[in-house]
Amino acid sequence: MNKQLKDLKSNYEEQNTPIELEQMIAGFKKRRSARRFYYNSIISIVALMLMFLTSLNISPVLAANMAKIPGFEPIVSALTITKDDSLHKADITVPKVIGTSKEIVALNAKFEKEGKELYKQFALDAKVVHDGHVGIESDYIVKTEKTNLLSFGQYTVNTVASSSTTMKYTSIDPQKQMIITLPSLFKDKAYVNRISLYIEEQMKKEMAKEHTDKTYWVKTGKPEDDLFEAFTKIKKNQNFYINKKNHLVISFDKYEVGPGAMGIVEFEIPTKVINDLLLPNKYIK
């Protein structure tokens, strides 16, 4: 090698590294082995069983759920709040993912908090609109359930005068006890544009069909384009789930990409569209 390059190389290699590098690497290793501990250890299974038995006693809903379905369930109803006095109706069911990892515990805590907040908001609305209809309904639907993949959506229908529906999906790897986020599936952020382009194309295609009642807020080159804010890009953390065919499905809430009549809009993304951008993974095929 050229002498200048040799010198340059030794200069490069002799740079100091901060002590935090060692600390960070040590922390990383520790977390890895902690996770492995959960995998292999009988203790964790015992702990899980204990937790299970206790929660069976506490929650009749959980018990009912367990009785209903044979075998081990990765997700159960943890909390059900109901109230019904002809005018004001609340029916909130909060899911709980079975797991002991930090991520899962935090997720469950978040669900519980959100559920309670929904009810609080409902109680508040009911007070304000004491002689009108106020309703809240929230539950979850499991979309995909495999050994290494659990995708489910939580929907909330809010009725105060008019109704609005929202859907929030969550995907989890029950084996690794990890939350699967949209960015974590891809090598870099290129997926945002790739998926957006594909969806835009599909929207236009669907609208171009004869006798279609589908309308999306997408640029068509017509004057009415100016009436709305056209869809350009999905969010980095756009709502998504992975369906039974292991395909990615992108979901938009009511009003997000089209008029309310369209409701919740979902697009299945063919894997070949995004294949080269995916990090190697077991979830999307």
Partner: protein, 167 residues
């Protein structure tokens, strides 16, 4: 267990190269804390998808690919970069003076736009083949070659034939 074996390979790899991860990240971020963040994020990403890496002989170039992408992603988030053609990159680079001492040369390398410094580092400090580099940086082979050539020129390093060609 499979997982245990995988973990051993991964941890050994980290221990062997951790300093190099950091130095490469630093080339992009120019800042200690950000470089650490980039390394940490790359480690998590890599660990998550490690079970699906079939050919472990590719581990180093596979990991560096993740590291480079994470670093560039980070710069994008910071809006510290904009996309330019190679010609423009050169145009906007600081003027290079004629001679360097070794220390100056090092500074010069640091001051190059990352499109040039990364290629020098990967080629000469990390000993990747030019084909691997094209793959890691996700650019055509011809672009990789011409960037390497320009980078050396910008650093005023006498071109030896081996520089542009791989062994």
């Amino acid at each position: 267990m499979m997982r245990k074996k995988q973990e051993k390979i991964f941890i050994e790899f980290i221990d062997q190269y951790k300093k190099r991860f950091y130095l490469l990240a630093l080339t992009y971020t120019k800042n200690e804390q950000d470089a650490l963040d980039v390394v940490q994020e790359s480690l998590s990403k890599a660990w998550k998808s490690f079970p699906t890496l079939k050919d472990h002989s590719q581990l180093k170039s596979w990991f560096f690919q993740i590291l480079v992408r994470t670093a560039i992603d980070f710069l994008r988030k910071q809006k510290k970069i904009c996309l330019m053609e190679d010609d423009q990159i050169e145009y906007f680079s600081p003027n290079q003076v004629d001679t360097y001492t070794n220390i100056d040369l090092h500074t010069a390398l640091n001051n190059l736009p990352y499109q040039f410094s990364e290629i020098i580092i990967l080629r000469f400090f990390e000993d990747f083949k030019i084909e691997d580099i094209a793959n890691i940086l996700d650019i055509p082979l011809s672009t990789a070659k011409s960037r390497l050539y320009r980078a050396l020129k910008l650093l005023k390093i006498e071109l030896v034939e081996e520089a542009a060609n791989h062994e």
